[in-house]
């Protein structure tokens, strides 16, 4: 039976109930888009497997849970979250904790870091930077066939805001630890905006952890504006339990001479779908999209990437890898689109997967759409096992089979990890992946909370 009408009617009830209360309390800028976004959601519905972008991803299990109707955090929740500290040796970051995508209330609503970079909540940002928000909010989303994106626009009330004004450089990465913690099953809609103005530089590290065993479903939309000659890196480390689902939609809009990279490291999660759009809107921009996932049990992990070459002389690379064990399934859906004007494009896409068990399954769909002729585009995809020759090579040197397999898998994964621009973090993630491959809990030695 089709579960979707029921979910849609549930969302409609939530929207109707909210338009008088919690939705009304949010800034006018947000409310302005709600109605038409909700119409879009009703028209597009929840993507099912007939939707090309979701051909291999079934959302049914996760959308079918009975989530608490609407989540808004209580101060007590934050006190719980405050206990959490994430310390990585040698990793000097500026750290902030979010609870279920929401900001701790109070004074810390919006803070300026040394160097002039602002980090805080969207709600506060609308008050402090009305013109900036007006210019960027809801400007980069593409929601032609995915109902979940307008659903977020219609229901989100807050999220993360980061603003790097012109020529500001923050040398330390900004780390956002997003904790999922609740005593009820919740469906979270958070909406984020990152603005990196001309000549600015910023790297952002987002770690997702689930702390309580309840069912979680997160539908995140993040818009990123990368101005001329600026640089932006985003690294996501997703480490949630098997009852939690996460769908991220990230839109990176780049101006000329800019550089952006996105790195999604998925270690755990019942259902994870990372969708990343790279829009190369100015000449000579460069973008990189990386992803690594390690899936087992009944997990499903999907990566969707679209790189839009609109302007000439831009470069892009995509590298996505996956290791699948038990009954896990994985999907990759990547698309390079080169528009007519985008001459001189270099675009590269690669997707490699290792299947370890009989019931694991991988579906991949690398695509090229090219309308310009002076281009160099290539893509490759492989699905296979650990190379028998390589295994033999190691074993003939006295390394036992288990260790040799681990070494090879680790080498396979490291190819993605080595692209992380922050060295200390690179080592740390290498370490996490190593533990994950060994079947140990991937948790940091110094962490007080066990995020398994």
């Amino acid at each position: 039976m089709d579960y979707r009408p029921e979910v849609i009617s549930k969302m409609s009830a939530l929207y109707a109930a909210g338009s008088g209360s919690f939705l009304k309390d949010s800034p006018e800028l947000f409310n302005r888009y709600r109605e038409s976004a909700f119409e879009d959601f009703k028209r597009l519905g929840i993507p099912d497997r007939k939707n090309e972008a979701y051909k291999y991803t079934n959302l049914e299990t996760f959308l079918n849970y009975q989530y608490q109707e609407y989540y808004s955090p209580l101060p007590a929740d934050f006190r719980e979250a405050e206990k959490f500290h994430c310390e990585v040796e040698d990793l000097d970051v500026w750290n902030m904790v979010l609870l279920n995508g929401f900001f701790p209330n109070g004074e810390k609503g919006l803070v300026m870091l040394p160097g002039g970079i602002w980090v805080g909540s969207m709600k506060f940002a609308v008050k402090q930077f009305p013109a900036l928000m007006e210019k960027h909010y809801n400007k980069y989303v593409e929601n032609a066939n995915d109902g979940l994106v307008p659903l977020n626009t219609a229901l989100a009330t807050d999220g993360l805001f980061i603003y790097a004004p012109k020529n500001t450089v923050y040398t330390k990465p900004v780390q956002i630890v997003n904790l999922l913690h609740s005593d009820k099953d919740i469906f979270v809609q958070d909406r984020n905006l990152v603005v990196v103005e001309d000549g600015a530089q910023l790297s952002l590290l987002v770690c997702d952890h689930a702390l309580s065993p309840q069912h979680f479903l997160t539908n995140t939309v993040t818009e990123v504006y990368v101005g001329r000659n600026s640089r932006f890196d985003i690294i996501r480390v997703q480490n949630q339990h098997n009852n939690s689902g996460k769908m991220t939609h990230t839109y990176i809009h780049q101006e000329r001479d800019s550089y952006a990279s996105s790195n999604n490291i998925t270690l755990h999660g019942g259902l994870v779908r990372n969708a990343t759009w790279h829009h190369l809107g100015g000449e000579n921009a460069e973008t990189h999209s990386y992803g690594l996932f390690l899936a087992d049990k009944h997990q499903h992990i999907a990566n969707f990437v679209k790189v839009d070459h609109v302007a000439p002389n831009c470069n892009s690379t995509q590298l996505f890898k996956g290791v699948l064990d038990d009954n896990a399934s994985g999907a990759f859906n990547g698309r390079i689109m080169v528009h007519k004007e985008a001459q001189g494009t270099n675009a590269y896409q690669s997707n490699n997967n290792i299947i370890l068990s009989e019931n694991a399954r991988m579906d991949t769909k690398p695509q090229l759409e090219i309308f310009a002729d002076d281009v160099k585009c290539s893509h490759g995809a492989t699905v296979g096992q650990i190379d028998a020759d390589a295994l033999f090579y190691l074993r003939s040197r006295g390394i036992d089979a288990r260790e040799a397999r681990l070494m090879l898998m680790f080498g396979f994964a490291h190819e993605v990890i080595q692209n992380i621009p922050i060295e200390a973090l690179r080592d740390r993630i290498d370490n996490l992946v190593h533990q994950r491959l060994r079947g140990e809990l991937s948790r940091c030695a110094s962490c007080a909370i066990q995020c398994n």
């Binding site: 579906d363 769909k365 695509q367 995809a381």
Partner: protein, 482 residues
């Protein structure tokens, strides 16, 4: 220099279509439009048995419930099925028993196309079944082949002479419910070729069908059925042309191949339907369903296609690899020039153990052409040790064309190894410079590079066809290189 090169490219790709003439021959056509009576009429004209009429009607009823698919990366003009004549046959007094009975005008048509119907003069040893509009005109070498037990005749004759074989295999690979165009074909198919190679027989000559659309406003719906019994081998060729007309003509064919244990079937196509004029007016809409099943162990099906014609090509020759150790191959060169569009590729369904498939697709786009590769490699959970390698390259000549790649890879078995790679680029200036430097003109250099690019596929064609295909490639791109 740049301009010169563009001009030469333009000259190279704007060659004329050489088979655009119309044969002035009386034809027996039925009124345009489609309903159950038309189907009954087609069936009665062909004096078909009851079961075949039932099959047609069943398909037609199912077709009425279907919608034209829109997923392909094509812009398809609206097809009005009421205006299409679904049956047209060149008028012949009596069924020809020998060549002298065939209308001389028909023979001249096929001679002009370079298709020899006169067996005695024919040196290359290719048996030909010539199909004009809806009807098979003449099948050559029938008797020679019959001595070895090979049945090679038109589909209508097969229905009369070998009904049990036809009934057994018809729609066994492409069921009548398969897709919009296959279902339409099942309802109205007129003729086509039928071929059966008995156990252990290697067919000594290339079998060939030549399709020609002549009458205007007609659609051509042929159906080919190829059965290779255990340990048999056959190489089959297919060629097609059509006159130049302003309107779009519909061509919706179905080809089914069955390969039993140890059998090998090689199916080659040189498709050169009328592609429409320079502004994209007219041309054949080529919507074809081709599928083979490797039913028995150790069987092999190999598709080779050179697609240069048609305004729109929508074609996915596929292999179902059911037998253990069976092999599927797909080699394709698709050229789109002017306003041509092509969405072509293959499906490899790995069901049996140790099944292997190879996909090699070369797309060439010029002018305003849009060329898409769409392929599926599916490894089912029982397909231990399945292996696939796919390579899809696209070459862009000119800045107004497009090249697209849509591979789908679905792997449900841990021992499978599936690899896909694709590249898109244009002819490098350094490559042209290298040729120029050695005294080769830009035009020749482009021809050389394009031919080298397509060589891997053309090498797979039987010799006679390879020469033709190579020439065709040059003509198709004439006036477009740049």
């Amino acid at each position: 220099m740049e301009n010169d090169q563009d001009k030469i490219l333009n000259d190279v790709t704007s060659g004329e279509y050489k088979f655009g003439f119309v044969t002035d021959i009386e034809s027996d056509s039925i009124p345009a439009g489609l309903n159950e009576d038309v189907i009954r009429l087609i069936s009665s004209k062909k004096k078909e048995p009851e079961w075949l009429l039932e099959f047609r009607l069943k398909s037609y009823r199912h077709w009425l419930t279907m919608k034209m698919p829109t997923w392909a990366n094509l812009r398809i003009p609206e097809i009005n099925y009421k205006d299409i004549i679904f049956y047209s046959a060149p008028k012949q007094k009596i069924a020809p028993s020998s060549l002298s009975d065939v209308d001389p005008e028909l023979i001249r048509t096929f001679d002009k196309l370079g298709i020899p119907l006169e067996e005695q003069k024919h040196l290359t040893g290719v048996a030909v079944d010539a199909v004009m509009d809806s009807i098979s005109v003449k099948t050559t070498f029938r008797e020679t082949l019959a001595e070895m037990g090979i049945i090679f005749c038109s589909f209508s004759e097969a229905v009369k002479e070998h009904p049990s074989l036809v009934q057994k295999y018809l729609a066994s690979v492409v069921p009548y419910t398969d897709n919009f165009f296959a279902t339409l074909n099942s309802a109205v198919f007129s003729d086509g070729s039928f071929c059966y190679i008995p156990k252990g027989v290697r067919c000594p000559m290339e079998l060939s069908t030549y399709f020609r659309i002549n009458a205007s406003n007609t659609g051509q719906f042929e159906r080919t059925l190829l059965i290779a019994d255990e340990e048999a081998y056959v190489s089959y060729l297919e060629g097609c042309t059509a006159p130049m007309r302003d309107e779009n003509q519909l061509h919706a064919a179905v080809v089914e191949i069955v390969a039993e244990c140890g059998a090998e079937v090689k199916y080659s196509t040189v498709q050169n339907w009328y592609p429409g004029d320079k502004d994209g007016k007219g041309g054949i809409l080529n919507f074809v369903t081709k599928r083979g099943i490797c039913k028995g162990d150790d069987s092999k099906i190999s598709w080779t296609q050179v697609e240069t014609g048609s305004a729109i090509t929508w074609k996915y020759p596929s292999c179902i690899l059911r037998g253990n150790n069976s092999t599927g191959e797909f080699y394709s060169v698709a050229v789109t020039n002017n306003h041509q569009q092509a969405d072509t590729g293959t499906k490899m369904i790995h069901i049996g153990k140790n099944t292997k498939s190879t996909i090699l697709s070369k797309g060439i786009s010029a002018g305003f052409g849009q060329n898409s590769y769409r392929g599926l490699v599916k490894v089912l959970s029982k397909a231990e040790g399945a292996r696939n390698f796919s390579q899809c390259d696209s070459l862009l000549l000119g800045d107004k064309c497009g090249a697209h790649t849509f591979p789908y890879i679905e792997v449900d078995n841990p021992s499978a190894i599936v690899e896909h790679e694709a590249t898109t680029s244009r002819i490098g200036e350094d490559q042209i410079f290298y040729c120029n430097q050695r005294g080769i003109s830009t035009e020749d250099a482009i021809g050389l590079i394009v031919n080298g690019y397509a060589r891997e596929v053309i090498n797979k064609l039987p010799m006679e066809f390879a020469v033709e295909a190579q020439k065709l490639l040059q003509i198709s791109l004439e006036g477009s290189v740049g």
